[in-house]
């Protein structure tokens, strides 16, 4: 019987151990009235922490309970919570641009309408138009704009010099491809590191700069537009001319940029943070020029990525959450701090600050922030719709097919047909 009693003792201990902790860590669910729970990740965390410190000066006792989960895992948590009618969600959560409309359309009741709280009336003009439109549904705003990803082409100054290419002379995507051929022939270096089968970011940038997207303004599938075919043609040329090194996934891409496999990266301003963080010893070797235009003299502004905060309708502290997030998104001081952390703020009242005209040593003493701030005003609105994920899935497959040598127009037609099918379930 000795053995039995040992086992039962263990069992009792075990049960006691797990039930003893039952209620201990629930402080973020109800807790005290002056604490907000927030889901965010990575470099966003220190920014919102700092904002909470500043906010607490006027609101004694105010505190944040931040839960950090990486992307894309955090979306699994958010989706699960939304499916369960908002249960288990925090008061405030960070949501990236490309996910936002999907959530808003599928779970219309789940987020607090900020227009009703007066946000749109008070602050709308402080943010770029593409952003406020993205955060709106039926004329009402549901998200606090945070960072943006005004795009440019990050390039290796030293390699360009070695190959005798003038970055300032690259004005169109055709010029860009020509430069790529020189890099290929002279230095045996790839121009881009696009993950052809998984990431259509560059194609999307080209859609965005031409003022189109997967969907037109009414929400109809628009993958076969003239602009779209042109964009896909560029991707095909990059691939067929051997100018693209297919780097699969984020790690490989950053690796390729850091070890000199790839000489340029058309991307959002946030890439600067990754470069300085992941390849600190490359100071002076990188520069940025604006996205090439599709035709000479065409629009060179587009956006890739960016994120926003949303308040859960389930929150018991909607007013506090609104007050804090309003402060967060419109305080110059907070947004400048975000800037220091490598996030490009959408709040345009700070673009005149000194930091924006500073020359950045890492980027060959180029004042890159002025460039991005100038570009952001011209970013056209992209209609993501609630079906963005499906559209991206099909567009990415079209990209694979085009890179494989199929006619881009046909690949896009096929994608449009598939997408229509999937939307008409």
């Amino acid at each position: 019987m000795k053995r039995a009693s040992i086992i039962f003792a263990l069992l009792l201990f075990a049960l006691a151990a797990c039930s003893g902790n039952d209620g201990s860590s629930e402080q973020n669910e109800s807790g005290d009235n002056n604490t907000l729970s927030v889901w965010a990740w990575n470099i966003n965390v220190p920014v919102i922490e700092k904002a909470a410190e500043m906010f607490a000066e006027d609101h004694p006792g105010f505190e944040l309970n931040i839960v950090e989960t990486g992307t894309p895992d955090v979306y699994q948590k958010i989706t699960t919570g939304l499916q369960a009618n908002g249960e288990g969600l925090p008061d405030v959560m960070l949501v990236e641009d490309d996910r936002l409309q999907g959530y808003l359309n599928s779970f219309p009741e789940a987020f607090v309408n900020l227009s009703e709280k007066g946000f749109a009336d008070d602050h709308m003009d402080k943010f770029p138009e593409y952003k406020t439109e993205l955060l709106s549904k039926d004329g009402d705003m549901y998200g606090f704009p945070f960072d943006s990803g005004p795009a440019g082409v990050f390039y290796r100054v030293d390699l360009f010099e070695e190959a005798g290419i003038d970055a300032n002379a690259i004005e169109t995507w055709d010029d860009f491809i020509e430069a790529g051929k020189v890099l290929r022939d002279e230095l045996d270096v790839a121009l881009t590191g696009i993950d052809i089968n998984n990431d259509d970011g560059v194609y999307r940038l080209m859609l965005n700069q031409q003022g189109t997207f997967y969907f037109d303004e009414e929400g109809n599938v628009d993958l076969t537009s003239e602009e779209s075919v042109k964009a896909m043609n560029v991707i095909q040329q990059l691939s067929e001319e051997g100018l693209n090194e297919n780097l699969v996934g984020w790690d490989a891409w950053i690796g390729g940029l850091a070890n000199g496999t790839v000489a340029t990266a058309p991307s959002g301003a946030w890439l600067s943070g990754s470069l300085t963080g992941q390849a600190p010893d490359m100071e002076g070797q990188w520069g940025v020029f604006p996205l090439p235009a599709m035709e000479e003299g065409g629009n060179r502004a587009a956006n890739l990525g960016g994120s926003n905060y949303m308040i859960s309708s389930n929150s018991e502290k909607v007013d506090l959450a609104y007050e804090f997030m309003e402060f967060f998104s419109t305080s110059d001081e907070v947004q400048l701090y975000a800037m220091e952390n490598g996030l490009f703020p959408s709040l345009n009242t700070i673009y005149t600050e000194d930091v924006f005209s500073e020359e950045v040593a890492y980027f060959n003493d180029q004042p890159i922030w002025t460039m991005f701030a100038d570009l952001i005003e011209d970013v056209p609105y992209a209609n993501y719709t609630g079906d963005y994920s499906l559209a991206r899935d099909e567009a990415t497959k079209a990209q694979s097919r085009a890179a494989d040598g199929n006619d881009p127009a046909e690949a896009l037609e096929e994608a449009a047909k598939q997408l229509e099918n999937r939307l008409n379930k």
């Binding site: 219309p108 052809i196 297919n246 699969v248 497959k397 598939q418």
Partner: protein, 284 residues
Amino acid sequence: MKQSKKFPYLFIAPAVILFIVFTAYPIIASLYLSFQTYEGGSYSFAGLSNYTRLLEDSIFWKALGNTFIIFILQVPIMLLMAMALASVLNSQLLKLKGFFRVSFFLPAVTSLVAYSLLFSIILQDNGILNTLLNAIGIENIPWLSDPFWAKISIVMAMMWRWTGYNMIIFLAALQNIPDHMYEAASIDGAGKIRQFFSITIPNLKPIILFAGILSTIGTLQLFDEPFNLTQGGPADSTMTLGLYIYENGFEYFDFSYGSAVAYVVVVLVAILSYFQFKVTGEKS
């Protein structure tokens, strides 16, 4: 006598209660979900529409096809390799047995995060694997970007992770085959390879069935590898049923449809397991 009648019920009670609450309920709830449809924030009854939609869904069929290709490529080769390793490790002469055993089993204990990080970097175009192949004169292989090689990569990654695991299972069974059978065969002049096929494999039949069914379940639910390495691409060439369920639920917010796919998986596993029982001639 009375006590012994009540006794088994008492003993299965904890398992049954836990099962009903935490397993049966979610399963039934998701089955119910598969007959619903979600539109703009609420569910409504949709009959069999999710299931009829499957019939015309080309991605579903592609996923089904991929899953079978991966299954056919992976399971037999892996089980054979595991058996070969197990019989080598079972040999009396070998030194450092414990060391090898643990080393081969190690991949099976890695977590999703570790596994994905390690393999996605190793399999890059300019990753360490291609660098090594270049050194022996083989040109770069597009491990993750070509529809054919992407499937091979998934199969390789699965083999890396699960061969040692199955090896341990076989090793256990091998220790049960009496040595005198091999001795007798040696006297009759049968070589090692012949012995492997005429003694080892027939004796391992029940455990092969066991490992085979576990691998069938694992492959049909295959999720980790495509999720981490290829996201189902290029052009759905590594889309699996497990990944499609996940994407429908968490990317496209269509849990009802995802649940319908899940129940197709259940039926398929049941059918395949039945055939494996038939083929190996076991009576359940």
